[in-house]
């Protein structure tokens, strides 16, 4: 650990450029997979709530099927999911390696997780407000757009924060399968080249990223919460 030569590597501008590139790759994976996770997970969460017993679109079959799909994908450890999805990823992106390819398993892993968080958030919406909207003659789509989503927004934002942090950790794992990013960088230098200082710096960058996401997410959620 105190091998001076290894610490000297930190003085090398090339190391920092590589780290910068890795950081950008991580951000790239996070932003894209984050967006798609929200786009796919939100309707799933809504479906889980609306088709449940006593809800607006009560439908036992749809509810059970959705629930099973969500549970299955949530239960598979991410590292295994990545391997299982290799053919699927290749089919969609054209190649199973690289940052773009890593986005596919990231979305498949995170969307069901996020769907459950959305479900919990929507269930917390006051039933009385939904009843009030029904009494005004609102249809299901209006109730979802004007009641459920805006009322649950602070809680959904917290859910997005939690999901993004999970995605940071998943994306680091994606590095194992050549996904690039900070995880990949830490593995190459820390595990394969035994360069502890670079691995420490990389870890610190990931840590700072997590903390920033958390702080930003918390403050946004708080700002939106008018309760």
């Amino acid at each position: 650990m105190f091998d001076i030569n290894k610490w000297q590597a930190l003085l090398d501008i090339a190391v920092w450029l590589q780290l910068g590139t890795a950081f950008l790759e991580t951000i790239y994976m996070l932003v894209l997979s984050g967006i798609f996770t929200v786009i796919l997970g939100t309707p799933l969460g809504i479906l889980l709530v609306l088709t449940d017993k006593g809800q607006l679109l009560e439908n036992k079959v749809v509810n059970i099927i959705t629930s099973i799909i969500v549970n299955v994908f949530r239960s598979i450890p991410f590292i295994i999911l990545m391997v299982l999805l290799l053919p699927f990823t290749r089919w969609i992106i054209g190649t199973p390696i690289g940052s773009t390819a890593a986005i596919v398993p990231l979305i498949v892993g995170a969307a069901p997780f996020f769907a459950r968080l959305v479900e919990t958030s929507l269930r917390e919406v006051n039933k009385g407000v939904v009843e009030a909207a029904i009494s005004m003659g609102a249809n299901v789509s209006q109730i979802v757009r004007k009641v459920y989503l805006p009322e649950a927004l602070p809680s959904i934002v917290s859910g997005i924060t939690v999901t993004l942090i999970a995605l940071i950790s998943y994306s680091a794992m994606a590095g194992l399968l050549g996904g690039g990013g900070l995880g990949n960088y830490a593995i190459i230098y820390g595990y394969q080249l035994f360069n502890t200082p670079i691995m420490l710096v990389t870890t610190a960058v990931i840590l700072i990223l997590v903390i920033l996401v958390q702080i930003f997410g918390d403050s946004l959620s708080k700002k939106l919460d008018k309760k």
Binding site: N126, A132, A133, I134, S135, M136, A138, Q142, L153, K226
Partner: protein, 343 residues
């Protein structure tokens, strides 16, 4: 205007049937304030929810303006609901929207253009007296202010009917009165039919024209508020009337009164005209008894007055009978209170 015919509601839970409403027949006239009073669990909440189909009747028919509500398809029902406003005990406002936004909500649902919404919202904010708080969020408002938003929201689409589900039960007495006065004003100004449910006789007394008493899923008594107040028939109705006519003081007074077999306590009711005549003094002179007034109060129900006097007399049985006869001749309702201590 609103008619419920043989309406029955049965809930099924765990293969067990729970009858919430047995057989309800009701007719509510246009522009009246109709109160439904009952204890919790009597079925009043279910009853009011049947009117706008938040609950479906198991049997029977619900008519609003010649429209058979329980036969409407989803689309027509949504339009019909836009003509029925509803206010709630816990206000049910959207936390995420300001006062303005909450009032605009039903107008957005009805699909009005933006300028029209803005204009209507301004009118309504003024109507309920919240001009200063238009941009506040519900969490920044008091209970009374929240209910004012609820009322404005319920009136937004100019409904013909306003349903009030225990709208004042979460409010303190002073705020309750101000909300009731607002409802009364709206009823007078716009001629809107108001149906309210409550467990407080005070609410019925203050603003209702007619009242139905509901007990265990059945309407046990119905009539004009004045009639039900002055001549309650069922014991449950008497209990409700007691909520407002008899103070705790009376019971206290009687409890500490010496238990004397030679004295009687009379409860005298004065309705309308009789309240204005010097009957008591004539009675004392004519029958020649000594009276001791223990407690008295006057209630105003629908702009008519109703007075109650609790009087102790020291007299023989003959004098008592003579007194009762005299009072009854003069239009006073008399009841000998046997012994309140054992009631």
């Amino acid at each position: 205007m609103i008619k419920l015919e043989k309406v029955k509601k049965v809930y099924q839970s765990n293969k067990q049937n729970v009858v919430a409403l047995k057989e309800i027949n009701l007719e509510i006239k246009p522009s009246e304030i109709y109160g439904i009073i009952g204890y919790s669990g009597a079925g009043k909440s279910t009853l009011i929810r049947l009117i706008n189909m938040l609950e479906r009747p198991t049997e029977g028919q619900i008519w609003i303006d010649q429209k058979l509500m329980n036969q409407l398809n989803d689309r027509d029902l949504r339009f019909a609901r836009q003509e029925i406003g509803m206010i709630f005990q816990h206000f049910n406002l959207l936390w995420s929207r300001t006062v303005r936004g909450n009032i605009a909500f039903p107008l957005e649902i009805a699909g009005l253009p933006k300028e029209e919404i803005d204009q209507r919202v301004n009118e309504l904010i003024q109507l309920v007296g919240l001009t200063e708080r238009a941009d506040a969020y519900p969490s920044e408002l008091s209970g009374g202010q929240k209910q004012r938003v609820g009322i404005a929201r319920a009136l937004a689409n100019r409904p013909k009917v306003l349903l009030s589900d225990e709208a004042t039960s979460a409010l303190d007495p002073k705020t309750t009165d101000s909300i009731l006065e607002l409802l009364q004003e709206i009823n007078k100004k716009m001629g809107i039919t108001v149906i309210l449910i409550t467990h407080e006789m005070h609410v019925i007394q203050k603003i209702c024209h007619r009242v139905a008493v509901i007990d265990d899923g059945e309407i046990v008594e119905e009539g004009s508020v004045f009639e039900v107040f002055t001549h309650p028939k069922k014991s449950i109705t008497k209990e409700f009337v007691k909520q407002v006519t008899e103070t705790k003081m009376v019971d206290e007074t009687l409890r500490y009164l010496p238990h004397d077999s030679s004295s009687y306590i009379l409860k005298c009711g004065f309705v309308g005209e009789t309240a204005n005549k010097p009957i008591i003094s004539q009675w004392v002179k004519t029958v020649n008894v000594d009276v001791n007034i223990l407690e008295g109060n006057i209630q105003y129900v629908q702009d008519a007055s109703y007075g109650t006097l609790l009087i102790q007399i020291n007299a023989s049985k003959d004098k008592l009978d003579e007194s009762i006869a005299f009072l009854q001749q003069n239009g006073v309702e008399v009841e000998v209170v046997e012994d309140v201590r054992y009631q």
